[in-house]
Symmetry: C2
Subunit: 226 residues, 2 copies
C-alpha cells in the first residue's frame, strides 16, 4: 500500500498550518481547546451548559464540526456567543486549514477562549493538530469502560477526560473506577471531571478547569519558547 507516505505528507502539511495557528493563539492569549469524542457523547450539550453559565462578558467563541447540518451551531448560537459551523462534507475530522478559514472575520484580540467541537469520531480527529493548547476527550457512561483501551490514541493525547451522562449511572452497567483506571493506563496524568449535562452536575467544576487552564496557558506564554 502506498497510502502511508501520502498520509504523512498530508499530516505534515496540517502540522505546518497548525503551528501557525498555535503561534497566533499564543500571541493573542487565546486558549484553544479541541473537544473530541464519539458521536452522541454530549459535546454539544456540554457546550450548551458552558455557554449558559458563562457570564456574557466572557470573551469566548465556538467552532463546531459535523459532516452535515448546521444543527449544532443553531443550538449554540442561542447564548449570544460567536459560533460558526464547519461542515466537512464527507471528511471524518477537522483539520487546521478548516480552522484557519473559519476564523476569518473574527478578531483573535477579542477572544480569551476558542472552543472547537470536533466531528464525532474517536479515531481520526486524534491525528490532526488544530493548533489547540489542549485536547479534551469526552466519554459517556453509556459507552463502556474499555473505550480508552480500544481507542488509545485520543486518550493518550488528551489532558482531561470529561465523563459525561453520570445521571445515567444507576441504569447502566458502567464501572467509573475501571474507566478512570483504563484512561490512566493510556495517560497516567489524565484529569477527570464527572459531568451530567441533564442535571448540571460537574458543569461548574468543568468551567473552573477551563479558567484555570487558561491561567496556566498565559503563564506558559510568558516563558520563552523552547
Amino acid at each position: 500500500m502506498n497510502r502511508i507516505p501520502l498520509e504523512r505528507k498530508v499530516l505534515s502539511e496540517n502540522d505546518r498550518v497548525a503551528a501557525g495557528l498555535r503561534e497566533r493563539f499564543r500571541e493573542h492569549g487565546v486558549l484553544c481547546v479541541n473537544l473530541i469524542s464519539s458521536p452522541g457523547s454530549g459535546k454539544t450539550s456540554l457546550l450548551e451548559r458552558t455557554l449558559e453559565v458563562w457570564p456574557r462578558s466572557t470573551r469566548a467563541a465556538v467552532l463546531t464540526g459535523d459532516l452535515q447540518t448546521e444543527n449544532d451551531a443553531g443550538r449554540l448560537r442561542r447564548f449570544g456567543f460567536p459560533v460558526k459551523q464547519i461542515t466537512t462534507g464527507g471528511t471524518c475530522h477537522l483539520d487546521a486549514g478548516m480552522i484557519t478559514r473559519h476564523l476569518e472575520g473574527w478578531r483573535l484580540e477579542d477572544l480569551d477562549y476558542l472552543i472547537i467541537e470536533n466531528v464525532g469520531n474517536l479515531v481520526c480527529p486524534a491525528s490532526y493538530d488544530l493548533g489547540e493548547a489542549t485536547k479534551i476527550v469526552l466519554l459517556s457512561v453509556t459507552e463502556g469502560e474499555d473505550k480508552p483501551l480500544k481507542y488509545p490514541s485520543i486518550f493518550f493525547k488528551a489532558e482531561l477526560m470529561v465523563l459525561n451522562k453520570v445521571d445515567l449511572l444507576p441504569y447502566v452497567p458502567f464501572d467509573v473506577e475501571d474507566a478512570v483506571e483504563n484512561a490512566r493506563l493510556m495517560h497516567p496524568a489524565m484529569e477527570v471531571i464527572r459531568v451530567s449535562c441533564l442535571t448540571g452536575h460537574g458543569v461548574r467544576e468543568w468551567q473552573t478547569w477551563l479558567e484555570h487552564r487558561r491561567h496556566l496557558f498565559l503563564q506558559s506564554k510568558e516563558q520563552p519558547v523552547a
Copy 2:
C-alpha cells in the same frame, strides 16, 4: 490537496477485493452482514445476545474489529461460535483485505452467517465495502435523534437501523419518532428494530430479521447475476 486521487485508488483496490469476497459468500450461501455504529452503541452487546439465543447448531461466525485489544473477541467466544478479533492498529475502519486475511482457516462451506462488527466509527467504515450482503447501522437512544442527518452516508447505505438501549428511554431526552423520521429522510426504505440488550427486548425480532434476510439472500443467489 492531492489526497483525493489516492483515496480513490485505495477505495477501488478495496472494491476489487470486496467483489471477490462477495462472490465467495454468494457461492457458499453465507449471509455476510456489516455492523456499523459509533463506539459504545452496543454492537458487541447485540452480538452477545444474538449468540446467546442462537441454537448451537447455527452455522455462524463473527469477525470483530477494534483499533486495539482482544476484549470483544473474548466476550463473544464464550458462546462457542468461531470468533476472530481484527485489531487494526491505528486504522479507523475495516477493509476487504483484512476480512480476506482473517477468513483464512475457516471453511465458508461450514457457514450460513458471517457477522462483521466494524470498528466503532460512524464515518469511515461506511466507505469500505467488505463484500457484505447488507450494512446495518446501530444507533443508541443516548446519542441524539439527529445523528442520521449529521452522518448521512452510513444511514443512506444501511438497510436496517437497530435502535439500541431502549431501556434507557425513560431517562433520556430522545424522540424515537424523530430518529426514525431522520433515518428515513436518508433512506426511505430503512427498516427499524428497537432493541435493549439489557432486557432482551427486540432481540428475537432481530434474530428473525437475520433469518429472513438470509432467506432473501439465498433466493437472490438463485437469480442470475445482472
